[in-house]
Structures are given as structure tokens and as C-alpha cells.
């Protein structure tokens, strides 16, 4: 393992303070309705979340942003930032993601001398862009010369791992059950990356109606431990 990959791992670590762990992205709605209540039902939910929502939004955007960075096509990167934000119809998940993105940008911009990060900050400051973790992550991965498919893989791993921790806290599940899920889920992540490599831009933003509806619904949940 190269030190570059280790550096990217830092962004995936649960200690990296982006606030990602305050967001369940609709999972809490399912838990409250008792649709997700144990290891098996959570595993099912996680599969749909990854394969039917995440790959078409964050996952595909990671790849496209990385490719645009290779081409030095920043206009394309800003366009992806906007697409990612406006396709996220549930307000809480949209605003939550934006907050995570901005914090990740703030932190990485302190850690790295990468001009593109400062440019992204400037775009957001001028209200031309919104801020999204998938874009920041791709910028850092590209800057560290970590390969495109590895970048997507680590991004998805990080998103999934934070959902597993959420499930452990909220369902609740035992720590061992959480680790078992993470372990069993690795082939799912690998196949998601393969799928993303085969997608086209035309596939961007496909949503899974039920997951999206539960993310909207979370706004009306009274007792909550997550912000989305």
C-alpha cells in the first residue's frame, strides 16, 4: 500500500469530522416504521441504497468528476456539483450532503496544497456551486494520483461504513453484527464499482422512489437521532 492511499483513507475514517455520521439518509424513517429492524433487513436496505441510489448519484459523479479533472475541464466539475445537488429532491439529505461537502472541502483545503480545492471553495463562495463530498473526494484522489476505480471504491466504502455505524446505533445492532455486515458487503461494493464503470452520463441521477420518499418523510419525523 502506498502512502497516497493511506492519505485518502484519512478522508474515509470515521474520525474525519465532516458530520457524515449525523445523517442517516432516510434509514431512520425505515427504522421507525420497523421496516428495517435487524441485520438481514438492514442488509437488504443497504443493498438497495447502494445499487439503486448511490451508484447513479455520488458513485457516477465520482467517476465523471475524476475524468473531468484529468481533462482539466472544471466547467464539467461545477456542472456535476450542481446536478448532484439539484437531483437530491429531499431537502434534508440535500442540505446535509452540502454541509458534509463543505466541511470536507474546508478540511482537505487545510491539509493539501491543491489549487482545485481553493477554486471549488471560490465557486461555492460565489454561489455558483453548492459543495458535495463526492466532488471533494474525487479532487483529493485525483491530486494524490490514486486511480479512478480505487477512488470510487473508497468513496463508496466510506458512505456504506458510516451507514453501518448508524444502523448499529439506531436499530440497534451489536458491534459484531455491524462488522459482519461490513465484511459481507465488500463484494457488493466491488460490483457497484464495476457497474459504475459501465454507466453513461445518461444514467445520472436515477432514484429509487421508496428510498427517496423516506428521505423526504424524515422531515416530518418528530423524535429523531439523525439530521436526515
Amino acid at each position: 500500500m502506498t502512502s497516497k492511499i493511506l492519505s485518502l483513507f484519512q478522508l474515509c475514517d470515521s474520525n474525519f469530522p465532516t458530520g457524515a455520521f449525523s445523517h442517516s439518509f432516510g434509514l431512520e424513517s425505515y427504522i421507525q416504521e420497523d421496516k428495517v429492524h435487524d441485520q438481514e433487513s438492514f442488509f437488504e436496505w443497504l443493498k438497495v441504497y447502494l445499487h439503486e441510489q448511490l451508484i447513479y448519484s455520488d458513485g457516477l459523479a465520482c467517476r465523471l468528476a475524476y475524468e473531468a479533472l484529468i481533462e482539466e475541464d472544471l466547467q464539467k466539475v461545477w456542472k456535476l456539483d450542481r446536478l448532484l445537488t439539484v437531483q437530491n429532491l429531499p431537502r434534508e439529505t440535500r442540505e446535509g450532503t452540502q454541509m458534509i461537502g463543505k466541511r470536507m472541502l474546508q478540511l482537505t483545503n487545510t491539509l493539501y496544497e491543491m489549487p482545485v480545492l481553493s477554486l471549488y471553495k471560490e465557486e461555492i463562495k460565489n454561489k455558483n456551486s453548492f459543495g458535495h463530498p463526492a466532488i471533494v473526494f474525487s479532487m483529493v484522489a485525483h491530486g494524490l494520483e490514486v486511480s479512478k476505480s480505487e477512488a470510487i471504491q473508497y468513496y463508496l466504502y466510506s458512505a456504506i461504513s458510516s451507514q453501518v455505524q448508524n444502523a448499529v446505533r439506531a436499530i440497534p445492532l451489536g458491534q459484531t453484527a455491524g462488522q459482519t455486515i461490513s465484511h459481507k458487503f465488500i463484494p457488493e461494493i466491488t460490483s457497484a464499482v464495476d457497474h459504475i464503470m459501465q454507466l453513461t452520463e445518461e444514467d445520472f441521477g436515477i432514484v429509487s422512489p421508496g428510498i427517496e420518499l423516506s428521505q423526504m418523510n424524515h422531515e416530518r419525523v418528530n423524535i429523531r437521532i439523525f439530521m436526515s
Binding site: E44, Q87, R91, G205, I206
Partner: protein, 274 residues
């Protein structure tokens, strides 16, 4: 020369308190009936229709609609959009709507029914100036097959893009492929058969309106799920999962009435179908 199966263009403007067509053009398998004024508000209503009775293999339809400042428009269809099997290439419909500031356009088509082995793609692109208002609904049914099975179509794909003063402000992409997805399952249709979507954009949007809509919808005593949320631009979207077209239509009609009264001071008439 054109490769479109049906083309329709409609440009509307306000003249002395009444919305009238500045230009109406249609060709092939798309048609618009004479304008109807349901009341004395000046708001015009156009019924779009497909004289062929349904979308067939490889059909391509194109609609371009514009509303000038102050124009008030209702667009609807005469009956459900039926998409028959498409063995060779998908049926496609593209709609572009351009709204000047101070105009109001509501596009409320009947449900979509995709038959066995049908593939359908629809793209709606809306260009709005700040100060314009737009309301759109669609209803996806589980389709139709001779054996009575649900979700026997191949693909239904709906893309909606809304630009506000030239910037993309809302992007929605639904793509249902029953052969590759556990459509009735967790995360998808959650055991329901029908999906309704509403999107509304106007600078007049506020949280009180969303609360009122939510409370009104909650008064409905039937089995359904609903989500309502504000967009990144002034506006909101609603998703409904239910088991019948009628229920979603009733909920949307109630919402439509509230929105129309708040945004245009106008109580809508029921859209009688002939």
C-alpha cells in the same frame, strides 16, 4: 423533413386579461383541441391528444410550449398515455416549456400505462424566468398485460429538468426496469403499485404552503405513502406511493386546488374529459 411521429407547438400570450394562442401548430400524431375557458378568469385550458390512440414502436413525439408574461395556462391530456410493446426501439416523448416571468402554467397529464414489453422515455425540459410559476404532475401505473400481471413493461424512464433563469434548479430521473429490479420491494415501490409525482416551482412557495398540503393529504383515509420536500430553488416536490390511480388523482386535485388558489387566486375547475 422530420423524424417525429407527432409535433406540437403552442405559444401563448395574455391579451386584455385573457390568455390566447399566438401560434398553434401540430402535425402527425399529436393534436390539440380548441381552447377551453372553464370560467371568466382568462386562464386557458388545452387538451392534448394522440389521435393514434397510443404510442407504438419507435414513435417520437415533440412538444414545444411557451407562455409570455401574464399568460395563465392549463395543459392536460384527453386520456391516459398508452405505450404499446416496442420490439425494435423505444417510444420517446420530449416536451420543452418556456415560461416568462409572471406566467403560470400547469401541466397535468393523465396517467401513463405501459403495456407488456413496452419501453418508454420521456424528457421534460422547463425554462423559467424568475417570477414564473409552474406545476406538473405525473402518475405511473403498473401497466397492463393480457395475463393481468403487474409491471410487465420493459422500461419506463422519466426525466425532468427545470432551469431557473438559465441555471439548472431541479433534476428528476425515474427509471423503472422491472426485469432488473425488485420493483414491488423495499426501497422501490414498498409494496404499492402506483407512483405519483408532483413538482411545483414558484417564488411564492413557503413552508406554510407545504404544511397545509401535508395536512390536507394526511386527511385522506386510505393506504398510501407520501413525501413532500422543498427544492433547491423556490418550489417543492411530492411523491406518492399508492394502489390506485384514482387515489393519487384525488390527492393531486386537492393539492392543485390549494396551490392554484394561493398562487393565482383562482379556483380550478375539474378537468372534465370528453
Amino acid at each position: 423533413m422530420t423524424d417525429w411521429t407527432g409535433v406540437l407547438s403552442l405559444d401563448l400570450e395574455e391579451r386584455k386579461g385573457k390568455t390566447v394562442a399566438k401560434n398553434v401548430y401540430f402535425q402527425g400524431a399529436l393534436k390539440v383541441m380548441r381552447p377551453i375557458y372553464h370560467d371568466n378568469s382568462g386562464q386557458v385550458c388545452y387538451y392534448l391528444l394522440n389521435p393514434g390512440g397510443g404510442y407504438l414502436d419507435g414513435d417520437r413525439y415533440k412538444m414545444e410550449i411557451s407562455a409570455n408574461e401574464g399568460a395563465m395556462v392549463t395543459l392536460t391530456t384527453q386520456s391516459a398515455t398508452k405505450v404499446y410493446k416496442t420490439p425494435k426501439s423505444l417510444a420517446y416523448q420530449e416536451t420543452t416549456i418556456s415560461l416568462k416571468k409572471g406566467s403560470y402554467l400547469e401541466y397535468l397529464p393523465d396517467p401513463l400505462i405501459a403495456y407488456e414489453n413496452a419501453r418508454y422515455k420521456q424528457k421534460n425540459v422547463i425554462h423559467m424566468e424568475n417570477g414564473a410559476s409552474f406545476l406538473y404532475t405525473d402518475i405511473l401505473t403498473p401497466g397492463w398485460s393480457p395475463s393481468g400481471g403487474k409491471f410487465s413493461y420493459d422500461t419506463v424512464q422519466l426525466v425532468t429538468e427545470i432551469y431557473l433563469d438559465g441555471n439548472l434548479g431541479m433534476f428528476d430521473h425515474i427509471k423503472l426496469t422491472p426485469n432488473n429490479q425488485n420493483l414491488s420491494g423495499l426501497g422501490f415501490m414498498e409494496g404499492y403499485t402506483h407512483l405519483g409525482s408532483m413538482v411545483a416551482v414558484s417564488e411564492k412557495t413557503d413552508n406554510a404552503l407545504l404544511d397545509e398540503l401535508y395536512e390536507t393529504i394526511q386527511m385522506e383515509d386510505a393506504d398510501f405513502k407520501i413525501g413532500i420536500s422543498r427544492l433547491a430553488i423556490p418550489g417543492f416536490s411530492i411523491r406518492i406511493l399508492a394502489n390506485s390511480t384514482q387515489l393519487i388523482e384525488r390527492i393531486f386535485n386537492n393539492c392543485h386546488k390549494i396551490i392554484s388558489e394561493k398562487w393565482t387566486n383562482h379556483t380550478p375547475s375539474s378537468l372534465r374529459k370528453y
